[in-house]
């Protein structure tokens, strides 16, 4: 029986090539999204699963509580936490601590080499995690404070074919380091993608033994059979022991290693990966459903072609279930063919993906099983409704030639088409709206002048010679301004506790902090609403003068802030000016309180404003000055406006994903429309023939065939608009600064679908309308 079904299925596929192609291609496109997501999720789930003791490794998370803020979960803890836990609790077998360093430059043989992120850690890293040393002894490699362990690729980049062991690398911030080990590269599916390891040097990190300073990540390895819950129950006592009266402000718990990637949404600074994956999967699933709807529509519309077969099978004794099985089988076969197509494309795309994103994705049997499951699901979903409709035919009726599905089937088909189109319009409008929001953020007046600004990270030498260098830079005609600050806009991550007159000594108050020089305020075009800028005329300005922003003045309830007593880091001075609020961070968040102080010792970023002409020439001149003062560090710069664009990259990716999804959805929906209209043109060919014989024009016929679809597109647009409006409003909740929603994206989104769908429909309709009527009538 199965082979009989298979034969009929294959012969039907080959006989109606256009419809088969539409069905298979729609299913393939719909399944491609799901299959792609499946590969990605499998890759994500494999994150850090290569550590042999992974099920016993936990990250220590601290919950910091203060009266004015909701509790903050952070993986950043103080240095002695790991050693103390190991000391106090027999359950803890080992620990290792990570101090991340994001970017550095090293010199070897007089050449500067840029190195990406690295970790200062304990020698126990090789006992806790399963990183493998190729050369060197894991027990001793990180014992000396000036030792360094490189990954294979990093060693190759620096030394080429030379033997790396024992070679000396010079780091401007930390001095000379001797290579004591080479380790395998950290797998791509690890959250710890460091390029080299250094020991935690107590001299460099002099805060490492203070309980009060947080700043490193601690992983603990529990003994076999140890109960993490039981251990956590002892942590309140731990806080009490080491933090005395502050114990109620700090609490600890253990996060299993396998939860770090997916279940860290509540942890400060970490992305809600699980939520994101769910959202993308839901999107992929919706597109698959759209593709399945195509199959349902086309199969039920064309049911008449199979009616006689169904009738005869029933006459010869087939039960309804026989037929349901047969038609489900056919849809599953088409879904499997579609799956094979997608697998071929994926096989071709994976190497490209590896090259572009450094993601060595691979197809294995688990994924193949998953693909088959997706194909089965798509086949069953797509085939279920047609199978029910076709198997319900009464043999007598179909043998008499009455096989139309009737008005109910037609209504359902219309509902399905409207759903598909509405979803397409919804996605397009969302994509347009998100990109509008991104553009809005980029064009938004941030309250400071970001054009033509070059920022250069400062070194100790540059900092110490700042005034001289500033004068030299200003002598270059194409440089119109020079200033320095502790960090650049968008990158302020320094939070300080501040003091002010009238503060309740019990309370602690925190705000963002930036150290600036005299020229910073005019350089960036910042506006003072009260008081004055820092001035060289006032000897007390450096160190004791403070400029705050309006947000801070408002928080403190100061209408007139100038002259009020204010200080940070234990010192006390006065507020000399209040700046009009400007967006020093991402526009996603509201403007937070900010303190500006004149303290040249904190400078970390040099900002230059240059004229538009001959940018490269200007930068060459700047590099010339740089290299006269700084021999140990290469000259590096970025453009501020580009940095700001980078800040919105995640939102841009969101808009890109919505755009790609809407393209797929529109494409699939239009293929379905193409199938339906060509079928209806075929079915009505006799009617069209008669109408043409009686004098109908091509336009009349065109309207006759496409009117119904135009109405359906219209209904879809009307349904999609409020949905998109609602969804985008939800999305906007994430932003402190929101674009006016406006009508344009809605009208544009509707028009795009209308034009694409209408041209699809008209193409077929025109073909039918200009056909020779004699042809269609002859065969009737």
């Amino acid at each position: 029986m199965f082979s009989n079904y298979l034969k009929v299925a294959v012969r039907n596929l080959l006989r109606h090539k256009v419809y088969s192609a539409i069905n298979i291609l729609s299913l393939a496109l719909g399944m491609a999204g799901c299959m792609g997501i499946m590969i990605f999720i499998r890759f994500v789930l494999s994150t850090d699963n290569f550590h042999e003791r992974g099920d016993r490794i936990y990250r220590v998370i601290s919950i910091l509580t203060s009266e004015r803020q909701s509790p903050m979960h952070t993986p950043s803890v103080s240095g002695p936490i790991g050693p103390s836990m190991m000391n106090d609790y027999p359950e803890v077998e080992n620990y290792t601590r990570f101090i991340w360093q994001w970017h550095s430059t090293a010199r070897y043989n007089g050449k500067w080499i840029d190195l990406e992120k690295s970790v200062c850690t304990d020698p126990s890293i090789f006992e806790v995690f399963s990183f493998k040393l190729i050369i060197g002894n894991p027990k001793t490699a990180l014992r000396e404070p000036n030792s360094i362990v490189l990954t294979e690729t990093t060693a190759e980049t620096i030394f080429g074919d030379e033997e790396p062991l024992g070679k000396i690398l010079y780091f401007p911030d930390a001095g000379d380091f001797k290579v004591t080990g080479i380790m395998e590269d950290v797998p791509v599916n690890s959250l710890m993608g460091f390029h080299y390891l250094m020991p935690i040097d107590k001299k460099r990190f002099n805060w490492i033994e203070e309980y009060g300073r947080i700043g490193l990540v601690t992983y603990v390895l529990l003994k076999e059979g140890a109960d993490p819950g039981n251990l956590e129950s002892k942590f309140p006592a731990f806080s009490k022991k080491y933090f005395a009266e502050d114990a109620d402000k700090i609490a600890y718990y253990l996060q299993p290693m396998k939860d770090i990637l997916l279940r860290s949404g509540h942890i400060s600074g970490e992305a809600p990966m699980a939520l994101l994956l769910c959202l993308i999967s839901a999107l992929a699933l919706l597109i698959l459903v759209i593709a399945c709807v195509n199959y349902m529509n086309l199969s039920t519309a064309r049911a008449a072609y199979r009616a006689r077969e169904v009738g005869m099978r029933k006459v010869f004794g087939a039960g309804r279930m026989h037929l349901v099985r047969q038609f489900l089988g056919e849809s599953i076969i088409q879904a499997l063919v579609a799956m094979l197509l997608v697998v071929c494309v994926i096989e071709l795309a994976l190497p490209v993906c590896d090259d572009m994103f450094k993601m060595p994705l691979e197809l294995d049997w688990v994924l193949y099983l998953g693909f088959i499951a997706i194909a089965m699901f798509a086949g069953i979903l797509a085939g279920s409704y047609p199978a029910l409709v076709l198997s319900s035919f009464q043999p007598l009726r179909v043998l008499k030639g009455i096989s139309k599905t009737g008005s109910r089937g037609l209504l359902l088909r219309r509902i399905l088409v409207v759903t598909q189109l509405a979803f397409s319009v919804f996605l397009i409008v969302c994509a347009l709206l998100i990109s509008r929001q991104v553009n809005y953020l980029l064009k938004q007046d941030m309250g400071f002048d970001k054009e033509q600004v070059v920022t250069i990270p400062m070194t100790d030498r540059i900092r110490s010679q700042y005034e001289t260098i500033r004068q030299e830079l200003l002598r270059i005609p194409s440089i119109t301004g020079v200033t320095a600050s502790s960090s650049k806009f968008g990158g302020i991550n320094q939070i300080v506790a501040y003091d002010f007159e009238g503060r309740n000594p019990e309370d602690s108050w925190n705000a963002s902090f930036m150290s600036i020089d005299y020229d910073f305020v005019p350089f960036y075009g910042l506006e003072l609403t009260q008081g004055r800028n820092f001035s060289r005329d006032f000897a007390t300005d450096p160190g004791q003068g403070y400029i705050i922003n309006e947000a801070l003045a408002k928080k403190l309830g100061w209408d007139s802030a100038v002259g009020k007593g204010f200080g940070i880091r234990g010192g006390m001075g006065t507020v000399i000016g209040v700046l009009k609020d400007f967006n020093y961070a991402s526009l996603q968040s509201k403007i937070q309180p900010l303190i500006l102080q004149l303290s040249p010792g904190d400078f970390g970023t040099l900002s230059l404003r240059i004229t538009q002409d001959n940018t490269q020439g200007t930068l060459k001149l700047v590099e010339g000055i740089w290299s006269r003062y700084e021999l140990n560090r290469p000259f590096k710069y970025t453009f501020l406006d580009e940095d700001i664009v980078r800040m919105y990259q995640p939102v841009k990716i969101g808009s890109w994903v919505a755009g790609a999804a809407s393209f797929l959805a529109v494409f699939i929906a239009c293929m379905g429309l193409l199938g339906l209209i060509s079928f209806s043109a075929q079915e009505r060919s006799k009617e069209i023939g008669i109408r043409k014989v009686l004098g109908a024009s091509v336009t009349n016929i065109l309207l006759l065939l496409s009117r119904e679809y135009l109405v359906l597109i219209g209904i879809a647009v009307l349904i999609a608009w409020p949905m998109a409006w609602f969804a985008f409003n939800l999305f906007l909740q994430n932003f402190a600064y929101r674009v006016e929603i406006g009508l344009v994206p809605f009208i544009l989104g509707g028009l795009i679908v209308l034009v694409i769908a209408a041209s699809t429909v008209s193409y077929q309709a025109v073909k039918a309308a200009i056909a020779d009527p004699v042809e269609s009538l002859r065969y009737e």
Partner: protein
């Protein structure tokens, strides 16, 4: 073998009620060859569809092999159809996607006959119908007469006790029509009961007797006797 008692079939649409059969009482014995005749719309095909369990009567009784089957469910009727009935239609109703061999084999698949047995029986029947040389062709590659021979082969493959033929020669020229009628006659002579609807007096003469219908009623039975033929 067949006995109908006051068999009625009324088709109801939203606006019209049409009585297709009105208190029809017919009996067909085992081994008989009965022709059903009458003008278009008299209810011939309706009667045949009721006898073939393709449709349910509005009222009255239908006895098949001593069983009253008029109220059987679709499932029971399907079971009975595949076990003991064979059908031949005017428009052949072969499945376009299946070859001659596969079309003939189809009823055996639903009877779950073993593959070896299927091959043997399909081979025999194709030989009997003299279309073995066309076994791998598709229906649209055959002449009308050949298609109807395939349809007859498909009707007899399950060795049914009763074959219901609805104008089996209606779409055929006289040479092919004669061929098909002699096939049916052969089957009848070997013991199969046949009820055949026809417009043709010529082909009705192949039957043992003829039932005449007019406006849904039996007007005469055994035309040959009435006319003194």
């Amino acid at each position: 073998m067949i006995k109908t008692v006051d068999l009625c079939k009324v088709y109801t649409t939203e606006e019209v009620e049409t009585t297709a059969l009105n208190n029809v009482n017919v009996e067909v014995s085992q081994g008989e060859f009965v022709a059903v005749m009458g003008p278009s719309g008299c209810g011939k095909s309706t009667l045949l569809n009721l006898l073939g369990l393709l449709d349910q009567p509005t009222s009255g009784q239908l006895h098949l092999n001593g069983l009253e089957v008029s109220r059987y469910s679709e499932r029971q009727r399907a079971a009975l159809r595949k076990a003991s009935l064979g059908f031949v239609f005017q428009s052949f109703n072969l499945i376009d996607e299946l070859t001659v061999y596969e079309n003939v084999e189809l009823p055996l698949l639903y009877l779950r006959t073993k593959a070896g047995e299927r091959r043997k029986r399909v081979g025999e029947v194709l030989d009997q119908m003299e279309i073995t040389h066309r076994r791998n062709h598709f229906p649209q590659q055959l002449s009308g007469g050949q298609q109807q021979r395939v349809a007859v082969a498909r009707a007899v493959i399950s060795k049914p006790k009763l074959i219901l033929a609805d104008e089996p020669t209606g779409n055929l020229d006289s040479a092919h029509g004669d061929e098909v009628m002699s096939l049916l006659l052969n089957l009848n002579q070997s013991g199969t009961t046949i009820v055949m609807v026809t417009h043709s007096v010529h082909y009705a003469e192949y039957a043992h007797r003829t039932v005449h219908l007019l406006d849904g009623r039996v007007v005469t039975e055994n035309v040959r006797e009435v006319l003194g033929v």
